[in-house]
């Protein structure tokens, strides 16, 4: 492998990691607060991507620059409407009930959304590369790459990481969320409305998944099944990092993104295997993830 190829792999890995991070941090956040693995997370990603593509195809004739707000609008619409619906209507009646039921109802949401996606947007691949073409290419150590992928995507990911950190550690709303995560009963007893916290957290998490999808839409063709692939991948990242770990998710996404990119150039057939193999190895040694805190066994 020569140096150009190595740089190309690093750039591929970084842009891929940025997208995966956005999706998996949403999943991790939802799990951290609600203790629910949201199986429909990949579908939110796919819906975000498809709606963003629809929006940007609609607004591109007016002005290509409008496609950027279109991406953002699509992810917020999906996050609030779909995310809000899943939490309010499906999950809310199940709090305090068996964990399996909570997991399974998001699986039902996944099945329905997967089907709706095919009914609404069809099975033909959709392309909407307008935002990607708009930004100039950049040259990094002699390698030509789109600045959308090597600058914009990582910038959004880093901004999300620090934004979330600031929000959770420095603001009152964030402190309330952290309090519910730490001890739901105690926080309820001091007057925090845990249900509202769940609702808001789920919408934030869902919007992040949709944002990941919206930002991915210019870089890839949208096909059925993209949601099913993304949920396991983002789950692998979140679980390897330790569910609920935000900074950990960023590092793990980078690790998996880079490893995957190098594997693609060296042994392409093992590309899909990498994240899952890493997940098995890490979970076998550290079941709470690389950055997760060990929990006491309850008697």
């Amino acid at each position: 492998m020569n140096s150009t190829l190595a740089i190309l792999a690093v750039l591929d890995g970084i842009s891929y990691a940025a997208l995966v991070f956005l999706v998996s941090v949403g999943l991790s956040l939802i799990f951290g607060v609600l203790r629910v693995v949201n199986v429909a997370h990949g579908s939110l990603y796919a819906f975000g991507a498809y709606l963003a593509a629809t929006f940007s195809i609609k607004v591109a004739p007016l002005s290509p620059w409008l496609t950027y707000p279109a991406l953002l609008a699509a992810s917020i619409v999906i996050g609030v409407v779909c995310g809000g619906f899943i939490e309010r209507v499906l999950l809310r009646p199940l709090y305090g009930r068996d964990d399996v039921l909570q997991l399974l109802i998001t699986f039902a949401a996944f099945m329905i959304m997967d089907n709706l996606q095919r009914l609404i947007w069809g099975v033909q691949p959709i392309f909407a590369a307008e935002p990607l073409k708009l930004l100039p290419n950049v040259t990094v150590f002699g390698v030509n790459y789109t600045s959308y992928q090597v600058i914009l995507l990582p910038a959004v990911a880093v901004a999300t990481l620090f934004g979330l950190r600031y929000f959770l550690r420095r603001t009152l709303a964030g402190a309330v969320i952290m309090a519910v995560t730490e001890d739901r009963e105690a926080s309820t007893s001091i007057g925090i409305d845990a249900r509202r916290v769940y609702f808001v957290t789920f919408i934030i998490g869902a919007s992040l998944a949709a944002l990941g999808g919206a930002l991915a839409s210019p870089t890839t063709s949208l096909v059925p099944g993209m949601g099913a692939d993304m949920i396991v991948l983002s789950f692998a990242v979140a679980a390897t990092a330790g569910l609920g770990q935000i900074e950990g998710a960023a590092l793990t996404a980078l690790m998996i993104g880079l490893t995957r990119a190098f594997v693609i150039y060296l042994q392409p057939e093992f590309e899909v295997l990498v994240p899952y193999l890493l997940m098995v190895l890490v979970l076998l040694v550290r079941p709470y993830g690389l950055f997760g805190a060990t929990q006491m066994r309850k008697i």
Partner: protein, 324 residues
């Protein structure tokens, strides 16, 4: 009323329902030919879900059980591809052995964990298997899968029309045996220990048992059931594809278990019957939206009948008595 009386009272009507179900699946397809494959699939999937129900007794949900399903299916596929000439019985024995061996190996790792971590690790293992099946193109034909040629049975060769009944009755025999076996297992001391993992694992260990070993035995049995079910489905559908081991398949099995009701072994077959029937008829009439319909059914069941189809019957009986 003693505990024992309550138990027998609860189990007996369900066992009657199970017997009726097995009889119906033996007789009904004789009148409607297209039902032969449908019922064979129901029974085969029911066997896999029986394994999920078994683990549910211990309070554990495997979100990766499709791996054993795929291992069973691919064992026959590989045999047909590399050795050639198969027999239903041989396929079942091989599928049973390979899934048991894998179940033991994977089980040794996963039984150390509980709840979400148990589910996660199972998922991780199954996704590793899935990506190997998908990407090892020279050996597995990738996403296209491997065709499984119609095998004979004890040297007899059948026409397709006869064969669908042969495989139906083979599935029926195995399903009935598996149902009886699991029922007996759950009533045995070992089965009660498995249930104790759900209620209070630490107390189980204070009694001097090894919770891990108890769970490992349950896990290996459930892997075996998954492998047998996978072998049957591969023979029925005459193909094994990586999709057999994808996470959505695992989710489907858990879905069926909850649909039927995880509290009793018959829930596996009740759930499989409902699932496959909805899919069979929805796919025929509303080809584009069978998944949507199943999703809605699942939501309704979870929200309004969390104990599954079996629970419905019990709730009906209780409300008839003025509730309890």
């Amino acid at each position: 009323m003693s505990e024992k009386d309550l138990m027998t009272r609860r189990i007996k009507p369900i066992t009657t329902a199970a017997v009726i179900f097995f009889l119906v699946s033996a007789v009904a397809p004789l009148f409607v030919a297209s039902w032969a494959t449908l019922f064979a699939l129901i029974l085969a999937k029911g066997i896999v879900v029986l394994g999920i129900v078994l683990l549910l007794q211990a309070g554990q949900v495997s979100f990766g059980h499709a791996m054993f399903f795929a291992i069973g299916a691919y064992t026959s596929a590989f045999w047909g591809k590399y050795v050639g000439g198969g027999d239903i019985l041989l396929y079942l024995v091989l599928g049973g052995i390979s899934s048991t061996v894998f179940g033991l190996i994977v089980g040794l790792f996963v039984v150390r964990y509980r709840e979400i971590f148990f589910g996660m690790l199972n998922l991780a293992f199954s996704m590793v298997l899935w990506s190997l099946l998908e990407k090892m193109f020279p050996y597995t034909n990738g996403a296209d899968g491997i065709r499984v040629a119609r095998p004979g049975l004890l040297g007899f060769v059948f026409t397709p029309e006869t064969f669908q009944y042969v495989i139906l009755y083979v599935s029926l025999l195995i399903a009935a045996a598996a149902f009886y076996g699991v029922q007996r297992y759950l009533e045995s001391p070992l089965g009660h220990m498995l249930r104790a993992i759900k209620s209070n694992e630490t107390r189980l260990e204070y009694l001097g048992m090894s919770a891990r070993r108890v769970l490992l035995i349950g896990y290996v049995i459930s892997a075996f059931l998954g492998g047998i079910g996978g072998t049957l489905v591969a023979i029925i559908q005459q193909i094994a594809t990586p999709e057999f081991g994808f996470w959505t398949k695992s989710g489907e099995f858990v879905f069926i278990a909850i649909l039927g009701g995880g509290a009793h072994a018959f829930g596996a077959f009740a759930g499989a019957a409902m699932f496959e029937c909805v899919r069979f008829y929805a796919a025929a009439h509303l080809a584009d939206s069978w998944q949507l319909i199943l999703g809605v059914v699942l939501i309704v069941i979870i929200l309004y009948a969390p104990n599954g189809l079996i629970g419905l019957r019990q709730r009906y009986r209780q409300s008839g008595k003025g509730g309890r």
